[in-house]
């Protein structure tokens, strides 16, 4: 418990210092299958794996620098951030995007930690898969 708290606290300090070097924190392990269902029903209005829609395409998002999906019109705030989408960064983003990057455009958040973990697990798995051929 104390170690988990310390990791969280360290993460918060890193953000507060403006470094955006989001260190790994403690979060639940995710189920990518459930994450895919959540992604379809709750993210699918704006996002697809391979197309920029109201939100950017997500194929390859894991490990990518924030604000760099090709062809998407990002907010200046996200584009100029130094965030790299790791598990910890995605968890913080989904929990409260505006608290992570003030002035960003995503108005939806995911309050439930297990839901976030499942979504992150799906994004990580999908990022590793090649784009399907048509």
């Amino acid at each position: 418990m104390a170690a988990a708290y310390l990791r969280r606290a360290t993460s918060c300090v890193a953000i507060a210092c403006g470094s955006f070097a989001i260190v790994p924190g403690a979060w639940a392990s995710g189920d990518p299958a459930r994450g895919e269902q959540l992604y379809t029903s709750r993210c699918g209005a704006c996002h697809s794996m391979d197309a920029n829609r109201a939100g950017p395409a997500h194929r390859g998002v894991f490990g990518r620098k924030a604000g760099t999906a090709e062809g998407f019109d990002y907010s200046p705030a996200l584009r100029s951030s130094a965030i790299v989408w790791t598990e910890a960064a995605l968890d913080r983003w989904l929990a409260n995007p505006e608290s992570l990057v003030r002035g960003q455009k995503m108005g939806v958040s995911v309050a439930n930690a297990q839901d976030r973990a499942d979504l992150v697990a799906y994004l990580k798995a999908a990022s590793a898969m090649p784009k399907p051929s048509r």
Binding site: C46, A54, G103, M106, G107
Partner: protein, 189 residues
């Protein structure tokens, strides 16, 4: 509405009165501005994402109608739903302008066709499934942004839009022969 503000400022200047920017924004019917620019900008950003969804929804129904895959009773419903989305679009664009923002523009039909993989639609069921997926996503998106609005009236607008999308989804889901969701409160969880 924005053109009223300079006129009022000018009047106030001439009359020798001094009001804060917040008071002027309240007088102009722009309470979000009165609370601070950042809140208004955040609302504009959320509304513009929603407007992008409505543009996409309108074009999805155009793609469905033009595909020749929809039979007559279903086609009429699709056109009716598209009309609803056009009303949503106009409502959102008006709200964005009222807040001093610029509504995001519609893309080309080809761009939406590509983004939605329209070339994979082979029958009426495919079109309905796509529409149902978009309506469900929109329902959840509108419900999801409600807590983020700084202006409470916009939260109410989002709730009303979510209700429309949920109605569309229910009818499409029924047309696809799919069962009702298990339990209550299936949206926005």
């Amino acid at each position: 509405m924005s053109s009223i503000i300079p006129a009022r400022r000018s009047f106030l200047g001439r009359s020798g009165l001094a009001l804060s920017g917040a008071a002027i924004a309240l007088l102009a019917g722009r309470p979000a501005l009165a609370q601070g620019t950042s809140g208004s900008e955040q609302d504009i950003g959320i509304l513009n994402v929603a407007l992008g969804l409505e543009h996409e929804g309108i074009n999805a129904y155009t793609l469905g109608a033009k595909s020749g895959l929809l039979q007559k009773p279903v086609l009429a419903i699709a056109v009716r739903f598209q009309d609803d989305h056009k009303e949503h679009r106009d409502t959102l664009a008006a709200a964005i302008r009222r807040l001093g923002g610029k509504p995001v523009e519609e893309k080309s039909l080809d761009a939406y066709a590509k983004a939605l993989d329209a070339s994979t639609l082979k029958n009426q069921g495919d079109v309905l499934a796509l529409a149902a997926r978009l309506e469900l996503g929109a329902t959840n998106a509108y419900l999801g942004v409600i807590p983020s609005f700084k202006e409470p009236q916009l939260a109410k607008v989002a709730a009303r839009l979510a209700a429309d999308e949920a109605m569309h989804w229910g009818i499409l889901n029924n047309a696809l022969g799919k069962p009702l969701p298990m339990g209550g409160m299936p949206f926005g969880a």
